[in-house]
């Protein structure tokens, strides 16, 4: 059960050419995207916050810091927001660097709207999956925190594939008690059977 997202996805445009910024904002805005504009990498970094989600469309050649470098800086600060690199120079080394830095796409100017839109949509899809996974994980952690210390021990041993008898012998309690703990755990975590419990436990150890 994932709660609906409250923050909308935003296209962050970083380009030093004022006409490109203006025209992109207009076109993407009409296409239903929320946009924010930056003239260079520094001002983007200064404003960037951990809660930002969506997609960065950055020019490769920016004054001071390139779009690919900007992506590296965002990653080193823990930001996972996807990047689409655009450039007026279709040079191969730059494209290779961009993909090595895991840009979603590398688009040559002039591009058409469909091309950019498909890159942004790919980025958004990635972003949604990332956010969903993160929220799922947050929910799991929340559920785990409701377990008692003893229940946590039982869960950890169950994750290693031990049977009730073996767990009972390890913890010095009766198998019956182990089964009671296990039922309580399954209730708290909302899982229906032992297999799901083991899967949850393995995921929790990550």
């Amino acid at each position: 059960m994932v709660e609906p997202r409250t923050e909308p996805l935003v296209v962050y445009v970083v380009d030093d050419d004022a006409s490109i910024r203006d025209s992109l904002a207009l076109m993407l805005g009409l296409g239903g995207y929320a946009t924010r504009l930056f003239a260079d990498a520094e001002s983007f970094l200064a404003a960037f916050g951990p809660g930002w989600s969506g997609c960065v469309v950055a020019d490769l050649r920016l004054p001071g810091m390139s779009g690919v470098e900007l992506q590296g800086r965002v990653r080193s600060r823990g930001g996972a927001i996807p990047f689409v690199i655009i450039t007026a120079h279709g040079d191969v080394p730059a494209a290779r660097a961009a993909f090595r830095a895991q840009a979603v796409d590398f688009i040559e100017k002039p591009f058409d709207e469909a091309q950019l839109r498909s890159a942004i949509d790919t980025a958004f899809a990635l972003e949604r999956r990332r956010i969903d996974t993160a929220e799922l994980r947050r929910a799991e952690l929340k559920k785990l925190s409701r377990l008692t210390a003893r229940e946590r021990e039982v869960l950890d041993l169950a994750a290693k594939g031990l049977h009730a008898k073996e767990i009972a012998a390890r913890l010095g309690i009766s198998p019956r008690t182990v089964e009671v703990h296990r039922t309580r755990i399954m209730e708290k975590l909302g899982v229906r059977n032992i297999a799901e419990l083991v899967r949850f436990a393995v995921a929790a150890e990550r």
């Binding site: 050419d17 025209s23 207009l26 390139s66 690919v68 007026a88 730059a94 660097a97 591009f111």
Partner: protein
């Protein structure tokens, strides 16, 4: 029509051949046409070389006619018909070989062509001489003892005659060479050179006492001068003058046959020297010209690349605005279109400005001199630096002294030069010091009328020996470099009325000097 043209050509060829044969019928061996100077075979060879072997029968008929008119068939009709056959076939063979080897175009433009020409003529005329003298000997017209010296005289006469005269005809048939000849005729120096050759000839045959062949070396001096200054065309004219002078001089002095052979051998040596020098000089000139052309193309190519980048920005914006306009119409918000169209027009204006520059560039070296504040050039340097050092750990400092005047240059072209210098500097530093390197660009007042932009880096520099070499095309310090960047940059700097120099130092340093806008 074909037959008519054939007859017309033959009607021009035959009298010329007869005239040359008659003029050159000097110092013969016996009553036969074995003379130390035979220019007429050159006419036959050139005609068949340029016009085709179909002329061979006409050549044969002309040779028979000449022998009859000038020498009255000294060995009888049958022998003349046979020797004429040997000659016509031999000259046709030489023409065919030259036609095959001088492909695609029978001219003397390269050293290879000249060497081919000389070798084929020397070997071909030797064979023809064997055939001619052999037929006379077999017919009993020539004593056994007279055959070897007869062969030598016939060979030297033919070989020198063809070597001197055929290039003249080939040059006359080559439009490029004709243009050169016309250019020479307009130069005062040419007449001085002609006078010098004439004076030397006079000295040889009238001024100095004794055997003219002893002083023949004097002729090499004006000939070498002419060949070096005026190329093949000049050399050929001078050689023809020497040949005519030698013939007239010998005629006047009534020398014996042997010294004439010696003189003709000297003429052959002089001819070869002058022809080779002339062709070499022209080949060098052509190579220099084509290099200049490719440099111009390379510069244009780099400029085109830079401009293509500039034009992509407005094109992208135009596309975005256009798509936005479509979406507004689809959404029924046409009232908002006016603002978008205004912005589209502005972008179209921006693109056409760039395209106009491009067109000017290809309109042969047009430079758009405009007043540019040095600060704007330095801003371009910062922009370029940001682009080229993407990823590299090189620090770039850009500074200008107080009161540096504006410069009068073509902004795009000078930005291209700066791009080249900054790129080179950043690459040199990045390759040299793995850690942190520095590139400094400083603008200073050079003198009253010039501004100097220094590009310094902490790379290895070019060393004292590399100083000027780095500006030579195709000399590159980079493994993948074409070696055109600096050569093109200097050409652009000079086209803008400036200079570009490399400083010999332990670090990299280039000085770009540009004309300042001194007033206004």
């Amino acid at each position: 029509m074909k037959v008519l043209r054939y007859l017309r050509d033959a009607a021009v060829f035959a009298p010329c051949y007869l005239l040359l044969d008659w003029v050159s019928y000097i110092h013969p061996l016996g009553p036969f046409n074995i003379t130390p100077w035979n220019p007429q075979p050159a006419l036959a060879i050139a005609w068949m070389l340029l016009g085709g072997l179909a002329h061979a029968p006409a050549v044969w008929a002309t040779i028979v006619l000449a022998d009859g008119v000038i020498r009255h068939f000294p060995a009888g009709h049958g022998v003349t018909a046979l020797t004429a056959l040997v000659l016509a076939a031999g000259y046709a063979g030489i023409a065919w070989t030259l036609r095959t080897l001088l492909r695609p175009h029978p001219s003397l433009r390269t050293l290879r062509q000249l060497t081919t020409f000389v070798a084929v003529v020397a070997a071909g005329t030797a064979l023809v001489a064997v055939g001619f003298v052999g037929v006379l000997y077999a017919a009993g017209a020539l004593q056994a003892g007279a055959a070897p010296p007869g062969w030598l005289r016939f060979w030297v006469g033919d070989a020198v005659g063809v070597l001197v005269t055929a290039p003249l005809l080939l040059v006359a048939a080559d439009s490029e060479q004709r243009t050169r000849l016309r250019a020479l005729a307009r130069r005062g120096e040419t007449y001085f050179q002609i006078g010098l050759v004439a004076a030397t000839l006079w000295l040889l045959f009238a001024g100095l006492s004794g055997d003219p062949s002893h002083h023949f070396y004097l002729l090499f001096l004006p000939l070498i001068w002419i060949a070096i200054r005026s190329g093949l065309a000049g050399a050929i004219i001078a050689i023809a003058m020497v040949q005519i002078g030698v013939v007239l001089g010998v005629h006047d002095r009534s020398l014996q046959a042997l010294p004439i052979i010696e003189l003709q051998a000297l003429v052959a040596a002089l001819t070869l020297t002058a022809l080779y020098l002339g062709v070499m000089v022209e080949e060098r000139e052509r190579a220099a010209e084509s290099l200049k052309q490719s440099l111009r193309l390379a510069a244009a190519g780099e400029m085109a690349g830079a401009i293509a980048h500039e034009v992509n920005q407005p094109l992208t914006a135009l596309g975005n605005y256009g798509r936005s306009g479509q979406m507004l119409i689809e959404a029924g918000r046409s009232a908002e279109l006016a603002g978008i169209i205004a912005r589209m027009l502005a972008e179209a204006q921006r693109a056409s400005e760039v395209v106009r520059r491009l067109r000017d560039l290809f309109r042969q070296g047009t430079t758009h001199l405009e007043r540019v504040p040095v600060g704007e050039l330095l801003a371009a340097v910062r922009r370029i630096g940001a682009q080229v050092q993407a990823g590299a750990t090189v620090s770039l400092t850009v500074a200008a002294d107080e009161g540096v005047p504006d410069v009068l240059v073509d902004r795009l072209q000078i930005e291209l030069v700066l791009r080249n210098l900054v790129t080179n500097a950043v690459e040199a530093v990045a390759a040299h010091v793995p850690g942190r390197g520095e590139v400094a660009v400083t603008a200073k007042r050079h003198d009253a009328g010039h501004v100097r932009i220094e590009v310094r880096d902490t790379g290895p520099g070019i060393g004292a020996a590399g100083g000027e070499r780095v500006f030579e095309p195709f000399v590159s310090g980079k493994p993948m470099g074409m070696g055109l960047g600096l050569a093109v940059s200097r050409a652009i700097a000079e086209a803008n009325g400036g200079t570009l120099e490399a400083r010999a130092a332990a670090h990299g340093e280039f000085h770009l000097v540009l004309p300042a806008q001194t007033h206004g």
